[in-house]
Amino acid sequence: MKKILDTGNAACALAVKAAHVDMIAAYPITPQTSIAEKLASYIGSGEMNAKYLPVESEHSALSAISAASTVGARVFTATSSQGLLYMHEIIHYAAGGRLPLVMANVNRAVCAPWCLYVDHQDSISQRDTGWIQFYAASNQEIYDTVFLAYKVAEASNVPVMVNFDGFLLSHSMMPFQLVEQEVIDKFLPPYEPAWQLHPKWGGTFANVTPSHEYVPIRTRQAEDIMKTGDLIKKFSREYQELTGHWHGDLFDVYRQDGAEVFLLSMGSMAAEMEIAVDMLREEGIPAAGLRLRVFRPFPGAELSQILPQGAKLLVFDRNCAFGTGGGALLSEAKNALFDRRDNLKVAGQIMGLGGEDLPAAYLAQKAREMMEVIK
């Protein structure tokens, strides 16, 4: 396997190229733009056999690939921040329509005020739209997750959002290994849709629906999304067997042995958190890093299993769940643990909004402060 040094956006585009995508529609937005540019360049030069629709908005980008998916194409788009928010209507449509779309979202703060740098407010705002949400913490993980995303989306007919941090990953060069095309093809063969909108097969898509039809459709969608957690685990193992690449299950746990304090976070902050965990361990605090890879479906049972009796869970949110006094990850964790456990202590902290720098020493300090609160 070839190892290269490149950015997170390059890793994403290289994976999309290797995934036999048939059609791409994208609109430029910082810090996503270089994904769209690279893909346009691969297609233009003939390196990639796909069509590219240079749309005039993100709403149109997602509309275009949604309709393209209904006729049986494997499709892709990438966006960020305001662009993701502008897609919101079609994000719901794609999930309700059970379209196996894959979209990369390069996480960035949302306005007002305007800010170009990372936080997770954009994708967290889409948490109830019915998409699977991955959060990657390295360029290698971005690359590998794109293949996993198609595999899961097409097996479940649930669209997948691959999130990664703007600039910290999207524009940072770091080494990652490419996988040989034949290995990718083995893991992810060309798309064979279960149905296609075509005169040969007829049919209508997204009809007007009375309540007694709408309810079972929604119920099944909700159940199927819950089941994708197991699919992700299964396909992650399969991918590991083929490539040796492993980024963890639904969680990636760092220094679990004997741990009593768990520092839960997502994205690149969780990579930095490993250093913070080392610092706390040196002080004699039995800390562990808990990196959430899959925010939707939220792996509540898995979280409960990881935490031992009496554990302290410290939640670091790079987003605001406005009106709750905390972040979304804190709400989700508390919600997941409430019925399962009564012997845990949980505290949360919002940080890193709008690209606020999060060095390990700062994370460790915040962890100490949270431990004081729930002592």
Binding site: E56, A67, P199, N207
Partner: protein, 310 residues
Amino acid sequence: MSVKLKDFSETEFVVSGSAACAGCPSVMALRVVGKALGENAIMIMTPSCAVASIGLLPKSCYSVPTLNICFASAGASAGGMSLALDALYEKGRLQGEKPTVFNWVGDGGTYDIGFQGISAAAERNDDFIHFCYNNEAYSNTGVQRSGATPLYATTTTTPFGKEVNRKNLPLLMLEHRIPYVATASLAYPMDLYRKVAKAKSIKGFKYIEVHAPCYPGWKFAASDTVQMSRLAVKSGAWMLWEGEYGKLTLNNPTALYAQGKAATIPVEEYIGCQGRYAHLMKSPEKDTYLAELEEEVKRGLIFMAGRAEL
């Protein structure tokens, strides 16, 4: 190309069970469109009366494969679908002739919320036909004003009459320099059929707007949809024309009116029998209003005749 009724194919895009109002112009126009397009077609709809008419899941009153997508999505979704089909046929994953992708969208989805996407698809010259069935209001939601609602017509959001003019959207589409633009009328089905057949034979972006008088919205008898369509053309309030790459040609009878070879009927004969203008007809200033509307029609004919000379 001259079209006769016997040329119409047996294809029916609209089958029994439509939930449309009696005399619905969308249903009538779509029947003719289906006969001209044939069976190898895929339809995209956005929220409109045509979607409300489809009937409830799992049934449909449309025999053509249909995708219902969001309101602002028509341009991009048809463009995306058409391009994806190109990819699948080129890769050999689908065999045979590529289906005609077409939008069936009302004036709200075309003039207003959908315009950005449609304009962009036209600029990209995406390969599909966009049909706007123009009933001059948001009829599906109970007749609110749209960008296509004409001057002084009442709607539920312009209860005292619309104070501004409609846009000339077909002309705006022509100025995108796309391969084909046409306006059509239910009262001239041969002309409509010919224009649809022509659009089908052209690759790239095609725009066809069908004037679609809506009886509950405009307040006339349900049996008079075609008659109202005819009066619109005969009064000059709706013009029949087509254009290719910016070159405009007026069609008869509009061409005859523009050249002064035939006379239009007074606009009063067209709007006087519509309840949406009742306030105007009862007004003490009726004559002033009618003169203004008549002037609008004349200006339109002069303007389009001049545009046709370019």
